[in-house]
Structure formats: C-alpha cells, structure tokens
C-alpha cells in the first residue's frame, strides 16, 4: 500500500487546476487578485491585504492543496510606482500544480505579512527578502539579516546598490541568536544551562555554519544557527554579467555536483529563449547529471559516517568520486567547477572515448557502493547512532519546504525528474525510492538506493548509444560559431564578435524552471528585460529550507546527535548562502 500516485496514471497537466484556482479567486474581493499570463505557470498578482488569507486558502482548500512553499524572493523595479515585488512559488504535491504569487509593494510601505503560520518554510525566506531588499515582514519572530553581516548597510539586491561597494565589517555588531526556548523559560534564568558555540570553523560543521546551542547537560534545549559566511551574492553578480557568464557562478552553488547546477541554469535560459539543445547534448547532460548525483551522494554519505566515527566508509565512497571527476575532466577540462554546459548545449564535443569511460565507471562504482552498504547498512553501531535521530514526518517536512532525498526519506516521493520530467528521464525505466523513517538512517539509505537508480539510468542511456549530431545548438544568436567557421567566414566572425560583446539577447519574460539537484529541487527564477544581462536571477537552493529546520530537528537530542544529523542533511554552504 502506497500513498504515492502510480506511474501508469496519465500525466495531468497543470492546466487542470485552472478551474479550482478560479474558484479560489472568486472568494476574494474583486481586484485583490489579478491573474497574469505566466510563461511557465499560472501567476497571480495578489494585493498585500489579502495575502495571508489567500495563502491559507490555497493551502487548506482540498481542491488546490498548495502545501509546499518552494520559494520566496524579491524583485526590484525602481521605475515602477510599486517598486518591490515579493514573488512566492507554490507547489501542490497532490495535483502536481504550480502557482506563482506576486505581491507588489511601495517603497515607503514595503511590508508583507509573515506566512510562517501557513508554511514554516517561509521563515528564512522572509529573512532573506528583508536582508536583500529591506522589505519588512510583519509578525516574523526573528526578523534579522541572514545572508549578510549585521553591520552591513543597505540592501544588496536593490537596483541602486552598487555591486562594487565594500564595507568594513567589525565585531561590535554581531548576530544575536534567537532561541526558541520551551514555554515559561527565558534566557535570564538559564542558570543551570550552558550555551555552547560550534563553528563557524569547526570540522563538524561541514563548511562555515555557526551553531549556538543551549545545553542542559548534554541535551539541546534550544539552538540557533547563523549562516552567511560564504555569501557572495551570486544573484547580484549575475545581474552584472551576461547570460553566458553566469555559468561559472553556478558551478559554485552546490560544488559537490556542479554539473547539475549548470544544467539547471542553462535549461532555464533555454526555455526563455525557446531553444532546444540537440539530442547529443541532452543525452550527455542526463548521463553526467546522474554521475554528479552519485558523486554528491557519495560525498554526503561518506562524510556523515565520518562524523559518527566511521572513516573506512569514507575512503570507499570517495573512490567512485575520484573516477567520476576523471570523466568530467575528460569532457570539459575541470574536475570540480566544471562549467561544462553552455546555453544551448555543451562546452565542447564529447571525447571519442566518452562511452567507453562511462562503461568503465559502471563497472568500477558498484563494488565500492556494495562494500559501503555491507559495512554500514546492518551495522548496529551505526543503527544505534542514527535510527530515530532527527526524525521528521513527511507532513512536517513538506511544511518546512523540504525536497529531494531528505523528503523522500520521510515518505513523500517528490522527485522533479518524475513529477516534471525533463531531458531523458521520462524515456528510461527507473524508480523513485521512498523510505518512511525520516531519520538520519533513512536519509543515509535513500542516498544509497538513489545511487543504484542513477546507475540504472546511465546504463540504459549508454545502451541506447550516443546520438549523432552537434553538441550545441546551431543558432548564431545563441551559441558561438565553430572556430573553423570563425577563422574562415566573415559572417561567422561577426556573429562571434556580437555574441561576445553584447551577449545573448534573451526575450523579455520571467520563468521558474527546476531540475532535481542532488539535495532537492534546484530552481532558477529568472527575469529578462530583453537585454544581454539577466534583470534578476534567483536561485532556489534546496538546502536553504532544509537547514532552516535544523534547530527544530536537533531540539531535545544530544549534542553528538546534532553533529550526525547535520551530515545527513547534506548542507552545502555554497548553495545555502549563494
């Protein structure tokens, strides 16, 4: 018995919710919700006064059930009277439908109501919009800066903020932790308690996070995390670079699987351009994405066990990763920050030994994964450390905005590759593994199961053979002409110069496009104003909502359990803080 929808069910299109959405809209005063033609999904312009009620209705109405709040981001239009726009992206797991809500805001009255009572996922996203745009959130329990330093002045993503501006940030203004203490207690009478600080540079914190925990003995009573140490405002930087130049920036989002980020970004721009990459590029993207996923899962599962004291498993799982790096290097010339995709295709044609290398990898990887499973899966030491630790139910995980393997370990089988098939995922036979434990152990096991599924996908695609044809789309307005043409033909030379000097001209519009990143739905919300640079490029990082749950997950557990559960969540600072 499974709650998951069967595969054989005919794909429902998102348009089937049009009537239900209209019914919801009719319940609100005329003029408070204006539908807009969205390129990719239904879009509503919602007036701020009804926002909270609309959100509640959309979530609770059994006809719509938008229970997953994916994203909230701001957009700045300095020329408009209503300067800011808060953009929400919602998803309904029961209907496979998406909805975008836009809330226009005046600069002198930039306040939105907090949606935390409806979706807990809104918590950190609202802090982000406050930090980046100065939009205040009414009713937020801890409205403080999240990505930038407390002493930072101004709001980085406003259009009038100079991207080259520098600040000297000192220690006299630092983040004050917000502890979600049990009722009836306050910080002053914590005589018996001790507050410890872990990180930001602590090996257990897997990057640069700071955890502040109030301890009662060894039990965590309350905690708070501070992030932003690796923030580089990738979104602002994309606004100052051409569309093509953003690709190296996306490498640095989730650097354990940078290829998937490349694919996600390129697909978004391709959608906006209306360009279809050639079959060979799609084929290679699918294969390399799956290899990257394997690599990412290997890193996550390897390092989780290190936190629990198991180093051997780490060595075994890093060997497949090393081999996959070799494959990526032979394709694009770099191991970690690959920049292997271009808008419209791939960086270069695939090497002649690509298929042979992939097949070799299919032989090399399984023994290591098997060994690791043999070592760990039924190991009581690991079971004692991980079963029931940091457990979260599917319902709660969805409310916190979880996606990806962590959500699938809690019993909700949402996978973008299955729910919104892209590339070649619809043409191969594979399954979405789902487990129901929702704890560290099941998060470990689901990643192992996904590695096997990824191998299955790759094997089928290799058996199908490499498609013939070019590696990049043959459109001189999108892709650079071949070097041969560029050296010998005047016209190609002109296109070459135009493309590099002005960049790709992407038609005006907005789009939200998603791929299944290694730790959840990796979405890019991109707005073009028709020039050679993105007007706004927002990344929906999958681990941002997941990490916002961390304090809740570790509450009541011991400190050592907190360390183990952090590893299992696969938080990657590059993606979390952008």
């Amino acid at each position: 018995m499974s709650t998951l929808a069967p595969l054989s069910e005919t794909p429902e299109t998102a348009t089937s919710t049009v009537q239900e959405l209209e019914a919801v809209r009719a319940r609100f005063p005329a003029g408070s919700i204006l539908p807009q033609d969205g390129l990719d999904q239904p879009t509503w312009i919602v007036s701020r006064d009804v926002l909270a009620a609309v959100a509640r209705e959309l979530k609770d109405n059994p006809q719509t059930q938008f229970d997953l709040m994916l994203d909230l981001c701001g957009v700045d239009f300095p020329d408009r009277e209503e300067r800011f726009e808060a953009v929400y992206h919602l998803y309904s797991l029961h209907r496979g439908a998406r909805l975008r809500l836009k809330v226009p805001l005046r600069e002198d009255d930039a306040v939105i109501p907090s949606l935390i009572p409806v979706w807990k996922a809104a918590n950190w996203f609202e802090r982000e919009i406050y930090d980046m745009f100065g939009v205040r959130v009414e009713g937020h329990p801890n409205l403080s800066r999240i990505l930038t330093h407390e002493a930072f002045q101004g709001h980085a993503l406003r259009k009038d903020y100079d991207p080259a501006r520098r600040w000297i940030l000192t220690e006299d203004k630092i983040y004050k932790p917000h502890f979600d203490l049990p009722p009836g207690e306050n910080e002053d009478d914590m005589f018996e308690r001790m507050t410890v600080n872990i990180g930001p540079t602590h090996p257990a914190m897997h990057g640069t996070f700071r955890l502040m925990a109030v301890l009662d003995g060894e039990t965590i009573v309350a905690s708070d995390v501070e992030i932003g140490y690796l923030h580089r405002c990738f979104e602002k930087m994309s606004e100052t670079h051409t569309w093509q130049h953003v690709i190296p920036y996306t490498d640095r989002l989730n650097y354990c699987s940078s290829f998937i980020n490349n694919v996600g970004y390129c697909k978004t721009v391709e959608k906006l351009l209306g360009v279809e990459p050639p079959p060979k590029a799609v084929w290679a993207r699918t294969i390399l994405s799956e290899f990257s996923r394997i690599m990412d899962h290997c890193v996550c599962n390897g390092t989780t066990l290190v936190d629990a004291g198991g180093l051997t498993n780490f060595w075994y799982l890093f060997q497949p990763r090393e081999e996959i790096y070799g494959l990526l290097e032979s394709v694009c010339g770099a191991r970690l920050t690959v920049s292997a995709c271009r808008i419209g295709g791939l960086i270069q044609d695939l090497p002649p030994d690509f298929e042979a290398r992939c097949r070799r990898l299919l032989e090399i990887i399984p023994p290591f994964v098997e060994d690791s499973e043999k070592l760990v899966n039924k190991n009581r030491i690991w079971i004692d450390r991980s079963v029931g630790i940091a457990a979260i139910s599917g319902e709660e995980a969805v409310n916190w905005g979880w996606t990806g393997p962590c959500l699938r370990a809690s019993g909700v089988g949402y996978d973008v590759r299955r729910a919104h098939p892209y590339d070649l995922y619809d043409t191969v036979d594979w399954e979405v593994p789902v487990l129901y434990g929702g704890d560290v152990y099941d998060r470990w096991r689901i990643r192992m199961l996904e590695i096997w599924q990824s191998l299955k996908i790759i094997r089928q695609l290799l058996d199908r053979g490499m498609p013939e044809g070019p590696h990049i789309v043959d459109d001189p307005h999108v892709a650079l002409p071949s070097k041969e043409a560029c050296y010998n033909e005047m016209e190609a030379m002109i296109y070459h110069f135009k493309l590099i000097m002005d960049g790709i001209r992407v038609p005006a519009g907005e789009i939200y496009n998603m791929v299944e990143g290694a730790n959840g739905e990796l979405g890019f919300y991109t707005i073009s104003d028709g020039t050679g640079k993105p007007y706004r490029n927002h990344c929906r990082p999958p681990c941002f909502p997941i990490f916002s749950t961390f304090s809740r997950l570790i509450q009541g557990g011991s400190l050592s359990d907190a360390i183990v559960s952090l590893g299992g969540l696969n938080i990657v600072a590059g993606e979390l803080e952008r």
Partner: protein, 227 residues
Amino acid sequence: MTQPIAQTAQTPPSRPVLRPDAPYPNTVKPYKPGFAERLYLPLLGGLMVTARHFLRNLFGKKMYTIEYPEERRAYSHRFRGHHILTTRPDGSVRCVACFLCAQNCPAECIHIEAAEHPDVNIEKYPVVYEIDMLRCVFCGYCVDACPEEAIIMSNNYDMAYFTREQSIVGKNDLMKPYTFDENLLGYRPLFPEEDVQRAKMRRDAFNLVEAARQAQERETAKAAAGR
C-alpha cells in the same frame, strides 16, 4: 515585464506525487533492526570487507592515492590550466589585442594594453598582456572568445606564488610555456584533422622563441662576465 512573450515554452507535463485523497505520512516508521543485527553479527561481514581491501592494497592493487610531487595525475588534453599565449612562426605574439578575451572573462582578470603593430596587415598587438592568476577561475571563456587562437590553455596546474604581485603573469611568461610538448597542452579549440599540422607550427614557433631567449641569455651572461 507584462509584455507578451513570443516564445512558446510550455508548462512541462506534470505528474502528481501523491494520490489526491492520500494523507501525508504524519508519523515516522523507523527502521527495525533484526535479531542478527541486534547481536552485532553483520559486523563480521564488514570486517571481511575491510580485510579484503587491506589485503588487496597490500599486494599491489591499484591505489587511488598518489605521491603527489613525484607522481602526477595524467590529465586529458582538455584540462583548463595555466594559459599560453601562442606565437607566430617568427616568434612574435599572435594576439592582435582585440580585447575579446578580456570582455568575455567572467572574473575580469585579463588586462591588455594595445599598441600599433609595425606590420600594417596585423594592425595591433598587446604591449601589456597580464592575467591575474589569483582572480582567474579557469573557465576557459578566454579560449572560447579568441578569434585568433592566440590564447590557449596548458594542463599545468601547479601555480604557486609567494606574493600577490607574482600572481599577475605577464606576456613574456605566458608566451614561455614550461616545455613545449603537445601532451602538455590543455583546453583549446578542437580540430581533429589539422592537429598534427598545428602541432608542428606551434613547435616551430616555440623553437624560434626558445632560440631567441637562449641567445639573449647568453648575451647577458657574456656582458655580465665582461663587466
């Protein structure tokens, strides 16, 4: 942003994840270890695995770790490493200072100053061509942008500097690859048919540069000895 969009990108066909009436799993069902697991028995299987690895590694199976400075990993001919400025057959720099690489650099690490070339057919050449290796992200966009094949990459990856000033590599150092060997070339435009001929051209050009450099070194040495 309200204007209509010409493109016809469509909503991808979506597939609901849960049955419309299915509730969420609101309790967790943790894994239940079996009897053998509670007795720690599977640990023996794990010990077998580690013992197998130990013996294999001991008796000469391929190791994944390498002794780095002595041993080096072989990279493909697409590796994006230290840049090379290629030369003309007469040993002068091939670059025509068109600034496309500097324009196409996402990290803005290329600095060029152009001057008029004595040969009217060439028009311009760079007097200064500097790459800040600490800023460079080795994305290969400069190679993509170059319409003259004047900048390519090598697969040399060990770049270490004592000061930040040293990390700004000038024209002469970029034109002087450490050794000129086809195997050491990295990311560059691919021409399967012409590669042999190009390789010869590059080698000839390098030999000329190298000869000139050695002659100059001899002269300086002679002058120093004379003084």
